[in-house]
Amino acid sequence: MTRGAPTVGVVKFASCDGCQLSLLDLEDHLLEITGTFDIVEFAEATSRRSPGPYDVLLVEGSVSTEEQAAEILELRAQARTLVTIGACATAGGIQALRNWADHDEYRRAVYAHPEYVASLATSTPVSSHVRVDAELHGCPIDRGELLELLSALAVGRRPQIREDAVCLACKRRGVVCVTVARGIPCLGPVTNAGCGAICPAMDRGCYGCFGPRPEANMPSLTGSFLASGGTRADVARLFEGFTAYAEPFRTTVSDLRGRGPEEDADAQQ
């Protein structure tokens, strides 16, 4: 580590650890990364700890307990640049599906053992709680995009991380469209690229783990799935994945299911 190198913290909330593991999965660059940045907090990898401040804070995981909701506020105050990494932190993760669970039944279940379990009724992205400076999408994030983010920070470049459709990467890679050639439903047209189109390359449809593109044309794509013979529940399940709580997937799921998530139910009361 160079003296005066930017300090980096890696922290997590509700998640599987896979996104922070992506940093350790940059095996060929790991020692170069620690030579460029001073990693002062990364509990999975080092016993050295730091409460901040951090030049760059990478946050994995969704906010799903009262303690986490308080902690993210403190971390935000310590972070010059706060980057959320992965579907949990950017979209609430797979666990955000509980946001659609029946409110009363859910609460009853939790209060059956209130002394053991501290969890909020919802799992929400970090951006619902604090300002976020940059996001890396994906479940998990792509380690190449993580390296690009760190490289861009190192030289002051805009990270080459764009909100193109998966289709663009898919066609660049020379993969044949699985929807057109095989009739497989694929979320590629409405999903952020970044993964390298691995699902179509593996002969299956994209399941949206890099989250919806901001301009995703949901009515057109869901209309086409329904016209191909899928039931509303079948089509809903396509979007009930790792980024279901991110708009516009969220509204699409609620429309297809005929009920909204927890947050919406509260708002209506």
Binding site: L21, D25, A43, R98
Partner: protein, 437 residues
């Protein structure tokens, strides 16, 4: 120097365990040198996976349960896919069966290299992290990273990416590689074998605390192969049940102050799963190269009795997994079809496979359309947790003259030697809640 009086009453509180997967803490209360309580707490937020898979179809479940753990997603996919295939009577092609073992080899290599080199070895050599260790031992850390990378390369080749791979489907894979796609990897795997052998030589030179205890070891045992996806659940004290019949021999209960469930044998005792259990019970089914290396190291007995020597068990399994990966690649012919057709069937889908950290049990109740109606997932760390606490209680008196800092370090190192995956251990609660009237 301290007088021992000062230690009449001691609390050791490690509020955040580092170099483990997930977030947990350790609280130990001692009086007069005797440990009153040891509590490994998990404050990883619950994510309710058993509820999340309800109403989903088998292939969706395979995608979802991978997210329980970013370090061993393949293990979750393997237990789930074998459970469903067993329930539906699906017979996969031999080539697919071999590729699934290859995939597990990849995950074992990745996970074990991570643990041996980045998480555990710094304890033995007195560093806070592998990065700091690299300042003095660049070649050793570099070897660990290269080995880890090759594990990831196997996973990416078969599954599209190393973390949460996408190709595992009921009936086989969504896609299987062409022979030519394996060439680059095959060439590199010779290095993996070499580096794994060096790993075992190297860990054999480390100093581990002298701490031995008698423990029931549990793993799959298969008549012909080192256990991964098939075998019976067998223990060193006489348990022997079918791979799907975990509940016949074990049960789990929720423990106060944690978000996880602890498993016990039906007779209420703690037990240990993982590399030490596998190596001890299945040493004669290791790849000949790994078996020979184990014998030569002379560490077989220490692996069974001393938790710190689990690092050697992982090294042995690194050598096994890289050697078996070479054999699978050399024998590979592309299966005619990536996936065979199947029809759902109502029933109970239950199966166990060997995750890097040990036995991983899945059980799904499935309806006639293939939708999951209820689920139970028992990961290795929740099976080991009771045993870890027992070991902490037994170990602490051996360090009664140590300072708090030294004791803390010793306890942390002991906890880390089990490679606990706390992210895994926290996803059960909902089932328990649902069963409360």
């Amino acid at each position: 120097m301290h007088s021992s009086d000062e230690y009449a009453e001691r609390d050791i509180d490690i509020s955040m365990l580092t170099r483990v997967e997930g977030e947990g803490s350790l609280r130990l209360r001692m009086r007069d040198g005797v440990v009153e309580s040891a509590r490994l707490s998990i404050f990883e937020a619950p994510r309710y996976f058993e509820k999340l898979v309800e109403g989903r179809k088998p292939d969706e479940v395979i995608d979802i349960v991978a997210r329980i753990c970013g370090i061993c997603p393949v293990a979750y996919q393997m237990s789930a896919v074998h459970a469903f295939e067993d329930c539906f009577g699906v017979e996969v092609e031999d080539g697919v069966r071999a590729l699934r073992r290859l995939m597990y080899c990849g995950e074992w290599i990745e996970s074990h290299a991570l643990h041996v080199y980045l998480l555990h070895a710094p304890d033995f050599l007195g560093y806070a992290s592998a990065v700091e260790m690299a300042e003095d031992h660049a070649d050793i850390v570099g070897r660990g990273l290269q080995l880890k990378r090759l594990g990831n390369d196997i996973l990416a080749l078969l599954g599209g990416r190393a973390i949460h791979p996408v190709s595992v489907r009921v009936g086989g894979f969504s896609r299987v590689p062409r022979r030519g796609e394996l060439d680059a990897l095959r060439h590199m795997l010779d290095h993996a074998v070499e580096w794994s052998a060096e790993t075992l030589d190297w860990v054999s030179t480390l100093d581990a605390p002298a701490f031995e205890r008698d423990v029931e070891l549990v793993s799959l045992v298969h008549p012909h192969e080192y256990p991964m996806n098939h075998g019976r659940i067998v223990s060193t004290r006489g348990i022997d049940v079918a791979t799907g019949a975990w509940r016949d021999a074990f049960e789990e209960s929720q423990v106060p102050d944690t978000n996880a469930l602890h498993a016990r044998t039906r007779s209420g005792t703690t037990y240990l799963v993982g590399p030490a259990a596998r190596v001890t019970q299945c040493a004669d089914r290791l790849h000949p190269r790994a078996g020979a290396a184990l014998r030569q190291s002379g560490l077989g007995g220490a692996i069974a009795a001393n938790p710190y020597w689990s690092i050697a068990a992982r090294a042995v399994e690194l050598l096994h997994a890289s050697s078996e990966a070479v054999d699978i690649l050399d024998a590979y012919t592309r299966p005619d079809v990536a996936s065979v057709a199947w029809e759902p069937r109502a029933g109970v889908a239950a199966w166990s496979t060997e995750a890097p950290r040990g036995l991983l049990f899945h059980r799904y109740e499935v309806d006639a359309s293939g939708f999951v109606r209820a689920a139970q997932i028992v990961p290795p760390t929740s099976q080991n947790q009771g045993r870890i606490e027992d070991d902490l209680v037994a170990f602490t008196p051996t360090m009664r003259d140590a300072s708090d800092a030294e004791l803390t370090h010793g306890l942390e190192q002991l906890v880390r030697s089990y490679d606990p995956c706390i992210s895994c251990a926290t996803h059960f609660l909902d089932v328990e809640i649902e069963e409360v009237p």
